[in-house]
């Protein structure tokens, strides 16, 4: 009896195995949480587009070791409650092996307890430094830390012998995280923050703040925000005839900003991922191939320029793809392999994770660019 049963089980296993090899294996499910609508849609939309484009591409090329990828995208609307619900759904209902996103630091912080408990690897596309500091076992991220962008600007300011600056930051997650870093790092570079002003994400007139800044005696203005606020700032600076040099964050490194700010954008300096200056990069730049490829592809698919926000999703998908190729598709194996990622040249920079570092980038992930003639020039 027992023998018969055993035989049956074994033969069924064999049949199953053969079926597995002759028929298509079930797809590998990857979850994605992006703020496609709501106040952070400028992040979520290019991220979703990029992720869908990449997964299509991978599947067209035969998938990962013959298995297709299936991407399940939910919109968080940049709302922590919705992010947690969607993360739970991805894990419990859809049974994904890994999650990419969310787009914002707030959403990411909200779902970290969920993924840590479920032991599902998360590759966040948000920039906040606290996502990976301290290191959480299951959480990685692709967006460059704000700290790196701030260091880039301050380094440059120091070389220009500018010691007194005014900062003008937006009062949302992006701006407050940037402001934190600006204040924290100023001392290290011998820079003094003379005026510290903020504006609301929907504000349409910043002349009051700028008038105050003008009378404060700063040598430069650093504005930290995402479209459209900084465009208003640039226009107001021009309107008020303020002659101080204007620095911005990587939050506006897209052609959209140049379009919105118009002539007022000329001369502004900002740290940016390499994606906007892909053409100007030297041939030996390790990222150049991926960058050009991504820019072309995105333009072909969506008729608009790809930006580095979409790039965060590109990196997340490619990192997970690499991990699955090396170690299989169990969540634990993906996590372990992600941690072993070394010198992956993506859109945001060259990633090397380790058990002490789940952010994976160094300050060379940013280049300084200046806006000239409605385009970007690389600043040495």
């Amino acid at each position: 009896m027992l023998k018969k049963m055993l035989g049956l089980v074994v033969s069924m296993m064999v049949v199953g195995l053969m079926a597995g090899s002759s028929f298509a294996a079930p797809p590998i499910k990857i979850g994605a949480l992006f703020s496609v609508s709501g106040p952070a849609s400028f992040l979520g939309e290019p991220e979703r587009n990029t992720a869908e484009m990449m997964v299509d591409e991978i599947n067209k090329a035969g998938g990962i070791k013959g298995r297709k990828l299936e991407l399940i995208v939910y919109d968080t609307q940049a709302d922590a409650t919705k992010a947690v619900q969607a993360a739970n759904k991805l894990i419990k209902d859809d049974k994904v092996v890994a999650i990419i996103g969310p787009s914002t630091t707030g959403d990411t912080m909200a779902i970290i307890p969920v993924v840590e408990k479920a032991e599902i690897p998360l590759v966040s596309c948000a920039a906040g430094i606290k996502i990976t500091d301290p290191v959480k076992k299951w959480v990685f991220k692709t967006a460059q830390n704000d700290a790196l962008a701030v260091a880039r600007i301050f380094d440059y300011l120091k070389k220009q012998k500018i010691a007194k600056i005014a900062i003008l930051t937006v009062s949302d997650g992006f701006g407050s995280s940037g402001r934190e870093q600006l204040v924290a790092q100023a001392g290290k570079f011998g820079i003094q923050i003379i005026s510290d002003e903020t504006y609301g994400p929907k504000d349409t007139d910043m002349t009051a703040q700028l008038t105050k800044i003008r009378s404060g005696g700063a040598q430069a203005v650093v504005c930290w925000g995402t479209n459209p606020g900084p465009a208003v700032v640039a226009r107001n600076v021009q309107q008020l005839g303020i002659k101080l040099p204007l620095y911005m964050s990587h939050g506006v490194s897209s052609l959209k900003f140049i379009d919105l700010a118009g002539p007022a954008a000329e001369g502004i300096i900002l740290p940016s991922g390499r994606v906007v200056v892909a053409n100007h990069l030297p041939k030996n730049d390790p990222q150049k191939k991926a960058l050009l490829n991504y820019v072309d592809n995105y333009k072909k698919h969506y008729k608009v320029e790809g930006d580095h926000f979409g790039g965060h999703a590109y990196d997340a998908i490619m990192l997970i793809k690499g991990a699955i190729e090396r170690g299989g598709d169990s969540p634990a194996a993906i996590r372990d392999q992600l941690e072993k990622t070394s010198k992956f040249a993506g859109i945001g920079g060259t990633f090397s994770y380790s058990s002490q570092d789940h952010a994976g980038l160094t300050s060379d992930a940013f280049v300084l660019v200046q806006i000239k003639n409605k385009g970007w020039t690389l600043l040495k």
Partner: protein
């Protein structure tokens, strides 16, 4: 250091924002006075004005004047449709149901605008350039002059309409007492519809003249609508001088508050003023006590 240019700049910026608040507040007041409804969708007409102008001007490359005229016309048609479809069929309207319906309409209009024009913010070219004008050490843009001029024009036109034309007088009669008005042969329903027409036209005009300054996107209507409402409350719901003063005062206090107190709490300042006025003087700062609507 001499602080007077700084103060003057705050005042100028405040007044130009205030003129916009007043214009938006105007739209609220006209509908409220004719119907007793606070139209929470008023801000969306401001958005429509800006987005439609952008659409004709930039996407379809129309010249400026036809683009503006078309934008106002289409906004007005949407205003009429809104009144016909959602306001007129309503029987036994309570303030609560009116609040919900107008909020629902604002969500709907915003949603449709998002689907048609996307989520991006767009720049709209200024009517006459971006070279700043210097006045006593402070600067404004030519667009600000347009804003002041058009606001004045609309106010004057309103004054004449409501005080001297038969239709305007009839609308005022409805505002005071709609039953009595209908007894003397005024078609109240037409007057209500007319109030929506005027109000959506003025709202979209406000959106058109500020778009070159503030840029425009599908969701600019919410905050602008609320600020316009604050203006009209300060002004005591009048469709005259009170709202103008209310708007200018609000803009001024916001700008001075952002300059001398804290820019982070700029919006809070507007709403604290709103609450204080509602608590202390709900009839508004500038209105003489007159008949109260019950």
């Amino acid at each position: 250091m001499d602080n007077s240019p700084q103060l003057f700049q705050y005042v100028l910026s405040g007044l130009s924002n205030g003129a916009i608040y007043a214009l938006i507040g105007f739209g609220f007041a006209i509908i409220y006075n004719a119907t007793g409804i606070i139209n929470f969708a008023q801000g969306e007409f401001v958005m429509l004005g800006g987005m439609l102008t952008l659409f004709f001007l930039v996407f379809l490359s129309f010249p400026l004047i036809p683009a503006i005229v078309l934008a106002i016309l289409i906004s007005t048609v949407i205003g009429i449709a809104f009144e016909r479809l959602a306001i007129r069929p309503l029987k036994n309207a309570t303030p609560l149901s009116m609040v919900i319906i107008t909020i629902g309409a604002s969500i709907l209009i915003r949603g449709i605008a998002m689907l048609i024009w996307g989520k991006d913010t767009h720049a709209v070219p200024a009517f006459s350039g971006n070279d700043p004008l210097y006045i006593a050490g402070a600067t404004i843009l030519p667009q600000h002059i347009w804003i002041f001029a058009i606001t004045l024009l609309i106010i004057a036109a309103n004054k004449i309409f409501f005080n001297y034309s038969i239709v305007g007088k009839a609308m005022r009669a409805c505002a005071y007492n709609s039953q009595a008005a209908s007894l003397v042969g005024i078609n109240v329903k037409t007057m209500v519809l007319l109030s929506f027409v005027i109000s959506s036209a003025i709202g979209s005009m406000a959106g058109i003249i500020i778009a070159p300054l503030t840029m425009t996107s599908f969701d600019v209507g919410i905050m602008l609508g609320l600020k316009g409402f604050c203006a009209v409350i300060i002004g005591g719901m009048s469709s005259g001088l009170g709202t103008i003063m209310g708007g200018l005062l609000l803009g001024l206090l916001e700008s001075l508050g952002a300059g001398y107190i804290s820019a982070s709490y700029k919006d809070a300042i507007a709403f604290i003023i709103l609450l204080l006025i509602l608590f202390v003087r709900p009839e508004g700062l500038f209105k003489q006590k007159e008949t109260e609507r019950v």
